[in-house]
């Protein structure tokens, strides 16, 4: 009901421009997947050749499937553990808290390459070995700082009295979280989960070190494919992934509001 149509409209236009910026490479990627030329030369020679090639490429498809599985599991674990830790940081004041918060930096500050090498060595030494399980182990660790930092940022705006109120009504700590704290941090949680998913789904380095031959993920396939030839097949599968996730998320959004109330 704002009367100031001017500024609001300007804002929407701006939003649209930013989205355009975000989608430039995505569009290029999608368009190129329909270009017959292997080296993305222009003008475009429309063709479905790379989709055909893709349908026969079980390796890439399997890798895509693995990626989704690993990313979903990672997201579930990382967002749960990370949110729990963020809530503890919000609720309690205790010795060592700052140290714990500082410890979130190494996983994001040290290049993944080094973390990956270190993980490989350590997992080998500890008998954890490689494989999808090892990837999940690694991905969760990388996603945790994102989740904790993002959820904490949201919690800064939370009124502790709401938790107090719920407790006075007899809610157990778990119930407080479930009915009061969580609904408030839901937007942060969702953002964190999306981050976690993205971190895992797009994670190359760690996966690369932790993949066993024959069982790899999409990014690993893409990276290793580079040497041979970065075929638009990869554009094709990336396009499919994007379209798929768009439909999925838009479907979810229809039935679930996570922009918060108000």
């Amino acid at each position: 009901m704002r009367r100031r149509i001017g500024l609001a409209t300007l804002g929407r236009v701006y939003l649209a421009l930013v989205l355009m910026f975000l989608y430039i490479p995505i569009l290029v990627m999608a368009v190129m997947s329909f270009n017959a030329s292997q080296f993305y030369t222009l003008p475009i020679d429309w063709s479905l050749r790379w989709y055909e090639a893709l349908s026969g490429n079980s390796k890439l498809l399997n890798a895509g499937f693995n990626s989704i599985v690993v990313a979903v599991v990672t997201t579930a674990i990382a967002s749960t553990l990370g949110t729990a830790a963020a809530i503890a940081f919000f609720r309690y004041e205790f010795r060592g808290k700052q140290v714990l918060q500082l410890l979130l930096f190494p996983p994001i500050a040290i290049p993944w390459l080094i973390t990956g090498t270190a993980m490989l060595l350590f997992f080998f030494w500890a008998g954890i070995g490689r494989g999808l399980h090892a990837m999940v182990l690694g991905h969760v660790a990388l996603a945790l700082p994102y989740v904790i930092i993002v959820v904490s940022a949201r919690l800064k705006a939370f009124d502790p009295d709401l938790e107090a109120a719920a407790r006075s009504l007899g809610a157990s700590p778990a119930q407080v979280v479930r009915h009061v704290t969580f609904p408030f941090i839901a937007p942060g949680f969702i953002a964190a989960a999306l981050f976690a998913f993205a971190v895992s789904f797009d994670q190359f380095v760690i996966s690369y070190f932790l993949a066993v031959p024959g069982v790899s993920t999409l990014p690993v396939e893409i990276y290793t494919a580079i040497r041979k030839g970065f075929t638009p097949e990869i554009n094709a599968i990336s396009t499919i992934v994007i379209v798929f996730s768009m439909t999925l998320l838009v479907g979810v959004a229809r039935y679930y509001r996570f922009g918060g109330e108000r």
Binding site: Y40, P213, A225, K228, G229
Partner: protein, 328 residues
């Protein structure tokens, strides 16, 4: 059995038709795992003992792998095609250590540069072409310390495996500053840059150049300059405690089989085979038969050998320093 091969992706061993043919012939299946750098390959061998059967190792690294116990000596007596390998390659001191064969010579190639024939009327003959002001901002260069230093070593007339005058190399590399368009890291990238006209000429590998030409139809020609070029030899080795040694040996044997090689080189594009019989079966005008053959004879090639860790570190630092210098 299912054998596990560790190699660069798209480097011969994983050609679908070849794997199929091998399976039909021997009943063994082939699974691949890939690496993106030699260091990675070594790391994978170290951390996965008993996983791999066949591994491709640049002969410059074979002694190190052998010394670390990552690979096993190979009894080549049962391999049919070994006899046809060029003797100097087969008995390269990098592959045969203390009389034991740690790697079977597979293919060899040259690192030098390739040109976009559209930009040249006549092919250049000198390595100095890379430094020519004519190509300012149009030169491609691989972002690899050892290769960069070695090319500069050739341009300054030094030994590639242990250059003596690093200052000269530094100067030579710094002089490249105006020339370089960008660095490339993979064959695919190279092809893209070439096809989109970013490069007029660029450092490259002989085998890849023939792939670019044959497989992708790019207007590319490989140059072996008169000052010399870097030669390299890739061998196939058997990993320590390989689970399927026999099958591995059969696979290596298949890899040096002329039947495989001729198809690989003509249909896809390949480096030069170490198997003289295989080279002989190529078409008369094949690059690997003509140019490479001559290059091999001319003695212009300096083969890559093991590089001392301290020298390697020095090369890397020099290169990193140079790259820092390149920046505006």
């Amino acid at each position: 059995d299912t054998i596990r091969v560790l190699n660069w992706q798209g480097y011969g061993t994983d050609e679908d038709w070849s794997v199929e043919a091998f399976e039909k012939k021997t009943g063994h299946e082939v699974v691949h795992d890939y690496f993106n750098s030699e260091q990675e390959m070594l790391t994978k061998l170290r951390t996965n003992p008993g996983t791999y059967d066949v591994v491709l190792i640049n002969s410059a690294y074979t002694p190190q792998a052998a010394e670390e116990g990552l690979i096993e000596p190979i009894d080549t007596s049962t391999m049919e095609n070994v006899e046809d390998l060029a003797p100097d390659l087969r008995n390269s001191p990098y592959l045969v250590i203390d009389g034991k064969t740690y790697g079977v010579a597979w293919v060899w190639g040259v690192t030098s540069y390739a040109i976009n024939t559209n930009d040249f009327e006549t092919a250049p003959t000198s390595i100095e072409e890379l430094w020519s002001p004519k190509h300012e901002g149009k030169v491609g260069w691989r972002d690899d310390a050892v290769e960069a230093v070695q090319i500069a070593a050739i341009a300054t007339g030094q030994k590639i495996n242990d250059p003596s005058d690093f200052d000269a190399i530094r100067e030579k590399l710094r002089a490249l500053k105006p020339q370089i368009r960008t660095f490339w890291t993979s064959e695919n990238e190279w092809n893209q840059y070439m096809s989109s006209g970013e490069f007029e000429l660029s450092t490259y590998w002989s085998g890849s150049a023939s792939r670019s030409k044959n497989n992708f139809g790019l207007p590319v020609e490989f140059v072996i300059p008169k000052e010399g070029a870097i030669g390299w030899l890739d061998g196939l080795s058997i990993a320590k405690d390989a689970p399927h040694k026999e099958a591995a040996k059969q696979f290596i044997d298949w890899m040096i089989d002329p039947e495989f090689y001729v198809k690989w080189d003509t249909d896809v594009g390949a480096p030069a085979s170490a198997n003289t019989k295989a080279i002989g079966e190529l078409a008369e005008d094949a690059f690997n038969r003509q140019v490479m053959g001559k290059a091999a004879e001319s003695g212009k090639l300096q083969f890559m050998g093991p590089i001392d860790d301290t020298v390697r570190q020095k090369m890397l630092e020099l290169w990193q320093e140079t790259k820092t210098y390149y920046q505006n």
